[in-house]
Amino acid sequence: MQDAPIVQLEKVSKIYQQGQVEVKAVDNFDLTVRAGEFSVLCGPSGSGKTTILNLIGALDAPSSGRVWLEGQNLAELNRGRLSRLRRDRIGFVFQSYNLIPVLTAFENAEFVLSLQNVPAAERRKRVMAVLREVGMADYVDRRPDELSGGQQQRIAIARAVVSEPAIVLADEPTANVDSEAADTILDLMTMLNREKGVTFLFSTHDQRVMDRARRLIRLRDGRLEADENQDR
């Protein structure tokens, strides 16, 4: 039996205006992502990977077509509800970590839970558990500028998964770290997917990430080029 779809994109297009020129970043794109997947959107620069992640993550709206997250049509939600949807159902891992500079590692990881008004004691318990899983329990009081790129990305992963979202969207998560850190991050994500059942959707052109994916969604010029399942 197949798991229920978490994400569905239905004939989605996204057109940007660049001066006088219209740029079609995503063109009539369909996609279904199911719970527990470890999928990768791959393709050359400008193929629409990040745009698709932004559309799924409710950070951007399509020019046409529909995006569904757990059965909810995102077009029907206002800005406030979209924010709450991101807070409760989506985890983000960005290429450049995007931690909040005035917060410590612990507070960054705790941020989404505090937005959800989770009681302090429970927050502490859950955050510490995740920080231990990502190997950052000893760095709780460090500010982002006191951490290496790999360490920052691990905190970003902790922030993304601590609230147990329906899906984690990871945009080029290994692009700004060295290969050792990239391996650590990928090990971590693989472990979270296998042991905790966290659903991941990556965008990348990093071969190491593609090698780990169970599903490869190849893009070219905003269109689906291939959708391949890889047995692992």
């Binding site: 932004n54 993550g57 950070l59 951007d60 800005r79 406030g80 924010s83 709450r84 991101r86 807070r87 409760d88 983000f92 960005f94 450049s96 995007n98 931690l99 909040i100 500079p101 005035v102 917060l103 507070e107 705790e110 941020f111 989404v112 505090s114 937005l115 959800q116 008004n117 922030r159």
Partner: protein, 413 residues
């Protein structure tokens, strides 16, 4: 939520900017205290000086006397009115007086002027500026005697000295000219030339006889309050108590001294306008700083919104920053202003070299020493305004922050 913590850390992240912004709030408080305090001090001083020159803070007069002063309009049962006034809370003194125009003459010369007939047993220097200003001799003892205390200017004009005779000519209550011989027992010098050359103090009992007044008649009862802010209340209470007495009116100083009231109103208006403009400049500075701080953090707001912060929470975060900037500004303002205020309220700045000792405005002598006096209400208004201004200056930047589009801001590097 961590908003408070984040707001504090954001302010601490750019300490210099936060301090400069807070100092501009503090400087605004200092300026507002100086403007308002000098106004409160000089207005209070001018009103008090005007009051102790005759009419009091509240004046009970025969109906119509204020509009058309004349000795024919007299208040009967003045003693009873005085007792009623003294029985009221916050009344510091009440005095029965007759004030009117007269001619003052010696064998050689005569001048026109104003007399104020007072009861020597009741008058106190605290509430009588002329008594405080006696430079030669003293006040007459006998209310029915013939003593006169003349201004120094008049003494020069009429070539008067202590013990010299002065003939006072007035129009009595029936419109008949009548004269009385008096003898100079004191000379006062207020510093205001027009007052010193035109005012004479005379005994109340004697002037009642001269004017054909009854034994309890007078032109007014001057009432003094402990605190100027109580004038309206005392006036209302007194008017209510005297309601049964026909043919009199109870007037605040604003009505008996309309020139002074007008001058103060205009000056206060300019003072407020100036403060408003200064406030506007300071608010523009705060707005600029806050906006800069927000625009620099567009990416941060984008991240916060991407991971689930609502636009309203982002607006709240920036407003909390404004709140703490305001609080910091208030604290710095109090620290900065307190020593200045203490110095200025106790010592002040002597402007006599620039404006002279006898500078007057609205017919009232002005203290040449610039001092500050701040009523509690004024202090509260200043602090609340400074705080409100900071909060208001944060509103637009907060809205800008709340409008951040995460997808756009995350593209920024």
């Amino acid at each position: 939520m961590q908003l408070n913590k984040m707001a504090w850390r954001t302010l601490a992240r750019n300490k210099r900017r936060s301090l400069i912004t807070s100092f501009s709030v503090a400087f605004g408080i200092l300026l507002a205290v100086t403007f308002t305090g000098s106004g409160d001090y000089s207005y209070t001083s001018m009103i008090d000086t005007s009051a102790v020159m005759g009419f009091g803070h509240v004046s009970v007069e025969a109906a119509g006397y204020n509009d058309r002063p004349g000795l024919a309009r007299r208040l009967t049962e003045a003693g009873g009115v005085r007792k009623t006034a003294l029985g009221l809370p916050r009344v510091a003194g009440a005095y029965v007086r007759i004030m009117g125009q007269a001619m003052f003459a010696t064998g050689a010369k005569s001048v026109g002027g104003v007399f104020m007939a007072v009861d020597p047993q009741l008058e106190k220097p605290l509430h009588n500026f002329f008594l405080r200003s006696i430079v030669e001799g003293r006040l007459f003892d006998d209310t029915n005697g013939r003593g006169a205390v003349v201004g120094a200017g008049m003494a020069v004009k009429l070539n008067l000295r202590l013990g010299k005779k002065v003939i006072v000519t007035v129009t009595d209550k029936n419109g008949q000219l009548t004269s009385e011989l008096t003898r100079v027992c004191g000379i006062f010098k207020t510093g205001d030339d027009s007052v010193d050359s035109g005012m004479v103090l005379l005994p109340l009992g004697r002037m009642r006889q001269v004017l054909n007044y009854g034994p309890d008649d007078a032109t007014l009862v001057a009432v003094y309050v402990n605190d100027l802010r109580q004038v309206k209340r005392v006036r209302t209470l007194l008017a209510a108590k005297l309601d049964h007495k026909a043919n009199l009116e109870v007037l605040p100083w604003q009505e008996t001294q309309p020139d002074l009231a007008g001058l103060i109103a205009v000056d206060r208006l300019f003072n407020y306008l100036l403060q408003f403009l200064v406030g506007l400049v300071i608010a523009a500075g705060i707005l600029n700083t806050m906006l800069m701080s927000v625009l620099e953090r567009t990416r941060e707001f984008g991240i916060m919104m991407a991971v689930g912060m609502t636009p309203r929470q982002v607006v709240g975060l920036v407003l909390i920053e404004s709140f703490w900037l305001g609080v910091l500004g208030l604290l710095l303002g109090v620290i900065l202003t307190t020593p200045w205020f203490i110095y200025m309220s106790r010592v002040g700045i002597d402007l006599s070299r620039h404006i002279g000792q006898d500078y007057s405005a609205g017919g009232v002598l002005v203290d040449p020493v610039m001092k500050l006096r701040l009523y509690r209400e004024s202090a509260l208004v200043i602090l609340l305004s400074a705080f409100g201004l900071t909060m208001a200056a944060g509103v637009y930047p907060a809205i800008r922050a709340g409008r951040t589009m995460p997808v756009e801001s995350l593209k920024e590097t």
